[in-house]
Structure formats: C-alpha cells, structure tokens
C-alpha cells in the first residue's frame, strides 16, 4: 500500500470520526435540552398550573355562555407614542 493511499485512509478515518463526534454532540445536546425542558415544564409550568387551578385562575377563556350577549372584548389598539414600537411586548 502506497503512502498516498495510506494518507487517504487516515484522512477518511478522521473525517468520519469528526462527523461522528459532531452527531454525538448534537444527540447529547438534544438529550440535555429535553431533560432541561422536561424539568422546566414539570417544575415551572406544572407548579404554576397547579397553583392557578387551586385559585381558579384561567389563562385561556374557554367557557361558552348562552347568557352572554357578546363575546367581543375591548382592544382599543391605536397609535401609541413612538417608543412603544421599539418594544417587543
């Protein structure tokens, strides 16, 4: 086996190795993300939800009422001072 083909095998090996490491890193990243998001969901979202339900607080208005005459609610969205438009909220 010539020096050139040996070099190309080594290069191929390192290329594959690098790609494998990259994929491994991505997978580990996804797993860590999922674990952290799961923790956030059950601790942050879950606890808030439990407390909200205990005090009958609703974040989405889903009730249908035959007695209500309208479902329109006030918005009153109109021109604001210019600095308001630089905000993302």
């Amino acid at each position: 086996m010539g020096v050139v083909s040996k070099m190309s095998i080594i290069r191929l090996f390192f290329k594959g190795f690098k790609q494998g490491i990259h994929e491994f890193g991505t997978s580990i990243g996804s797993i860590i993300n999922s674990v952290l998001l799961t923790l956030t969901y059950f601790v942050g979202v879950g606890l808030t939800s439990v407390v909200a339900k205990a005090v009958h607080k609703h974040f989405l208005e889903t009730e249908i009422s035959k007695r209500k005459k309208t479902y329109w609610s006030d918005l009153n969205l109109t021109k604001k001072p210019i600095e308001e438009y630089y905000r993302r909220f």
């Binding site: 993300n33 979202v45 005459k69 918005l75 969205l77 438009y85 905000r87 993302r88």
Partner: protein
C-alpha cells in the same frame, strides 16, 4: 426614505420595501427557497427588495417586524400552563425554536442584515389592518381583521380614518374562525395553513343549504355565534391549543367518522362537511360586518387576515351586508403583514401624508431579455424569438385557441398567493375538457379544483353577476361571483360546479401584454376570457425565475413556455433532465 417590512417564523415569510410611502418591491421567501409557505427569516426576499432599488441595508431608515414576539410567547406559555400536562409534547417541540430564534428577532435582524438602524414592532392584527387600509383607496373605512391567530387576537374590528387605525374590539385565542377552518381542513385530510382554499373549492360540491345540509347543524354545535357576530368555539372539539394536531376525537364522532386519509376517497359526506363549514364562515363574517356597519355607519369596508382570502365569502359581502365598497389587498394573509408594517411606520407612526394606493400586484423579481437568453443558451434550450409584442400576442393567442397550454412568464412576479398574469399557466376556457387536462396532466391536483377566469375589466359585467361598482379587489382574484347562465356552456372550464368563477379582472394599464393577449384570443374565440392558474405544480411555490419556469414546463403537460419574447416548445427539448413530476407534494 426607505422602510423595510419583515414577516416571518409562522408561515409565509415575506419582505416589503417602501420608498417615500410607495411599495417598490415585495416578495414571499418561498419563491426563492422553493419551500411552500416557508417560515424562515426572509433573507432572499430582503436581498431582492434591496437589489431591485440598487440600495444596501445602510440606506434603510427603519425596519418593521409584523408582531410583538414577547406577547405571542406569553400566549404560548399560558396555553402550556392552562393545558398542563397535556401540552408536554408541544412544549418540548416548540420551545427550542422560541428560545433560539423567535425571541431573538432584533439580534437576528442585526446579525443577518448587518443593520444598525431602528427596528420597530407592530401588533400582528395592526399589521394586517395597515396592509389593507393604508394601501386602499379609502380615507375612511370600517376594518375587519380575521385570521388564525396573532399574539392573542384572532378577530378584530375597528375604524380607520386618514392615517389612523383604531382596532376597537377583539376575539381572543383559542376562539378563531381561521383555526376552525384549518381544523376542518385537517379533518378532511388536507394540509393546514396550505389547503384551506381546497376546502373552499370542495364546498361547492356539497349542499349549500343550511336546512338540507346534515352537517351544518352538527357543526353549529362547535361554535356559539351571537347576533353581533362574536363567537366562541367549544374547545372540547379541538386539541390545537395543546397538541400538534387540530380535531379532537369528539369532533370526529360528531362528524361521523375518522379523519380522512390524505389520499382517501372524497365522499359526499366530505363535500357536505366542507359546505357546512363554508356556510358557517359566511354566517360569522356577515353577522360581524352587519354589526360593524351598525356601529360605524360607514360605507367602506376593508378586510385583512387569512380569512380575507376566502374569495367565495368575499364575493357575497356587498350583497349580504349594508357596506357599499370593499377593499382587500392581494396578500391578505400573513404574507401581507410585511407590507402592512412598512406602511404603518411611514403613514401612522411617522405621520406622513397619505398619497398611495396599491393598484397592481406586480412587485416581485423580473428578468431582462439578456438574462433569459443567456439562460436558454447555457442550457442549450431550443427556442424561437418574436420580433415584437404584436407578433407574440397573435401567435400565443392562436396557440391557446388551438388548445395548447401555455406557461406565461412575463415581467415582475406577483405579490400574494395568486398568479395574475406574470407567472401564470393560461389555456382555453371554451374547451370543456381543459379543466380535467389541466388538473390531471399539468397541475397534478385534485379533480374538484376549479380554474379561475381572467377577463378584461371592460367586459366583466357581460359575463358575471358581480357587484356594481366592481370592487378593485377583483384585480387580485379575490372575489367569486356567479357566471351568467348563458355563458356556462361557452366557458365550461372556468365555470365551477355551482356556476361560479373566481374572477380576475385585468386593465390594460396594469399589464398591457396580458390584456392584449386576451383581446387577441377574443378575435379567435369570441370570448375575452382565459383560464389563468398559477405557474407551478402541486406542492411547489409559483415559479420565480426562468429556471423554475422551464423546469416546471418540462415536468408537466404544458405545451409552450412564453418567456419574455422567447417561445419554447416542450416537444423540441429533451425531457429527461427536467422531470419535476416526481416532486409533487400536497
């Protein structure tokens, strides 16, 4: 002064560029990336806008974004809290994109565009409202914005006067007529945020009578509509507020069967469900507008939001409500918000005098003869060249009359989801078989889909039972009207099963070549109407450049491509390199 409007990260990303109050360029990102309804940051559309005016990002004075991302994130978070623990899967799948992308809008704009100037954020429904009113011919009008969902708002109404828009009342998420339409679209086996117009087309095959349609009463159980048009959905029938799917099992039970499989048979039941949905949508819109007229006492109405693309509904508004004039811009959906935000900054926030009306939708990229010739020569494509427009129009009109199908690629690409004579497939509407030929061999799409007629504006009243005076939005193919009975047999390929047609009117000052072509066709056929459908195959965006157009022609049954003054016959060129049929998607 240049203002760049951007809309992205939900569906139909787009960019629009305003120069001293006039929209000078606008395009959807999907046309460049070739991904239908592309949601990504519209870097290609932005680059096109800047290049078209020969400016750089440093020349842009303001950039506007089409929503308030933190308010939208608040709504998403509240959904998760309210629906805990059922929202777990969507929390895991959607949160990374919020953290990595959607909440970093300013950073992304600065990084991707190297922009150092001001960035402004406008509420989603305000961007919709501005896209319609500030581009309309009205100084005073009532406004209705109605779509899937913005930050919290799904439906809003208000009053617009001069430069100001006041959205007075709203209906909030999860109650949304747009999401109801999408849910039934999903139930009928079509893709959400894409195929709602198919359901609209299918509805004409069902029973459009509230008393006779068995699904109308059933579907009314999912929505409570008040006399003033306000409504709420019974959320037991939906799961979109916590899952990645939309209809609940309860909805399937109500409608008497499971979700239709994508390639499953379309039965009478499906058609009647589509009709019931269309009737409910029309009922809600008519009730809201009647109430809105009572509140505002104005004669003009402007509509924006995805539901504003429901052309069947649009064509009935002036007939069924007290409003006398209507305006809808060519891209009433989310794609249009980039235009809305740019207009809002210039006219409302900065208070410049209004002097702009959007009269034409030709705002996209165009290609000069030299570029096209180079493309054709490079790919060794056989073509002939016309000496002038007269020769072109005569030859092409004759080809259409002889039942050839033409890919028509001329000038600037259209803004919005409709092909309006720049990137169109055109054919003979008098041939009764043309609809099936186009549906099966060219567009590779469902048999029930209708084709739109394009007619010279001067002749419209001879052929259609339309509103008088005719709304300008007919120029953008946004209204469906009944075709006069005596013409049903004469133009069968554009007459839908219920006798209607999704009309596009054309004026010579908008597109003289297209207008002259229709007039020339009239000399052969006696009819000043052509079939006009979008130049694409199913699942792909409308073609943008000569490469897309040629590729589309070679993969379909299009006979000729007319691109600038060049005529290319499909039969003269080898097909095997350009088979786009394999790329058909939903």
């Amino acid at each position: 002064m240049y203002i760049l409007g951007i809309g992205c990260y939900y569906h139909d990303s787009s960019a629009a560029l305003l120069n001293d109050g006039k929209i000078v360029a606008a395009a959807a990102e999907e046309r460049f990336t070739r991904m239908k309804h592309d949601t990504s940051f519209p870097i290609n559309a932005i680059n096109y806008c800047l290049k078209s005016q020969e400016i750089t990002i440093d020349d842009v004075d303001y950039i506007g974004f089409y929503e308030k991302p933190f308010i939208k994130f608040e709504r998403v978070l509240f959904q998760h809290i309210e629906m805990f623990p059922r929202s777990f899967k969507t929390f895991l799948s959607s949160t990374p994109s919020w953290l990595n992308e959607k909440l970093r809008t300013i950073g992304t704009i600065r990084k991707k565009l190297k922009y150092k100037g001001d960035v402004m954020f406008i509420e989603h429904h305000m961007a919709h409202a501005a896209s319609s009113f500030l581009a309309s011919p009205f100084n005073k009008a009532a406004i209705l914005t109605i779509d899937g969902v913005g930050e919290w708002t799904t439906t809003a109404y208000g009053i617009c006067k001069d430069n100001n828009i006041n959205l007075i009342k709203e209906i909030k998420f999860p109650h949304s007529i747009g999401l109801l339409y999408s849910t039934i679209t999903a139930y009928l086996g079509f893709s959400v945020n894409n195929s709602e117009y198919k359901v609209m087309g299918l509805s004409a095959y069902g029973i459009m009578d509230t008393k006779k349609n068995p699904y109308y009463k059933r579907l009314k159980k999912v929505i409570d509509i008040k006399d003033d048009g306000s409504y709420r959905l019974n959320m037991k029938y939906f799961i979109y507020h916590y899952a990645n799917r939309m209809p609940s099992k309860k909805l399937c039970d109500l409608l008497g069967g499971p979700i239709r499989k994508k390639d499953g048979e379309i039965t009478k039941r499906h058609k009647d469900i589509a009709a019931a949905l269309q009737m409910i949508t029309e009922e809600v819109v008519v009730k809201i507008l009647s109430y809105l007229h009572k509140v505002t006492k104005l004669d003009n109405i402007v509509i924006a939001g995805g539901v504003g693309l429901n052309s069947v509904n649009n064509g009935k508004i002036l007939k069924n409500t007290p409003f006398k004039h209507i305006w809808i811009q060519p891209d009433a959906g989310d794609g249009g918000t980039s235009m809305g935000v740019a207009l809002y900054i210039y006219y409302t926030i900065l208070g410049n005098k209004r002097d702009y009306v959007l009269k034409s939708a030709y705002l996209g990229p165009e290609f000069i003869s030299k570029e096209i010739r180079e493309f054709l020569d490079f790919h060794k494509i056989k073509y002939s060249e016309f000496k002038n427009d007269d020769e072109l129009v005569k030859r092409v009109a004759h080809l259409i009359y002889k039942n050839n199908i033409i890919g028509w690629f001329q000038g600037k690409m259209e803004w919005g989801p409709r092909a309006l004579g720049s990137r169109s497939i055109i054919a003979n509407p008098c041939n009764p078989e043309m609809k099936d030929i186009l549906n099966l061999k060219v567009k590779h799409r469902e048999y029930f889909r209708p084709f739109a007629p394009v007619v010279c504006r001067d002749d419209v009243e001879d052929y259609f039972d339309c509103d008088t005076p005719l709304p300008d939005s007919t120029d953008f193919m946004l209204m469906v009207y009944p075709i006069k009975k005596k013409w049903h047999d004469k133009i069968p390929s554009v007459t839908h099963v219920d006798g209607s047609g999704r009309l596009q009117t054309i004026r010579r000052e908008q597109n003289s070549l297209f207008y002259d072509l229709i007039r020339e066709f009239e000399k052969f056929s006696g009819i000043p109407i052509l079939i006009n459908t979008s130049f694409n195959i199913r699942g792909e965006p409308i073609v943008c450049n000569p490469y897309d157009a040629y590729r589309c022609m070679m993969g379909t049954g299009i006979d000729y491509l007319v691109i600038d003054r060049f005529l290319i016959a499909r039969e003269d060129n080898p097909h095997h390199m350009w088979n786009s049929k394999q790329d058909i998607k939903d």
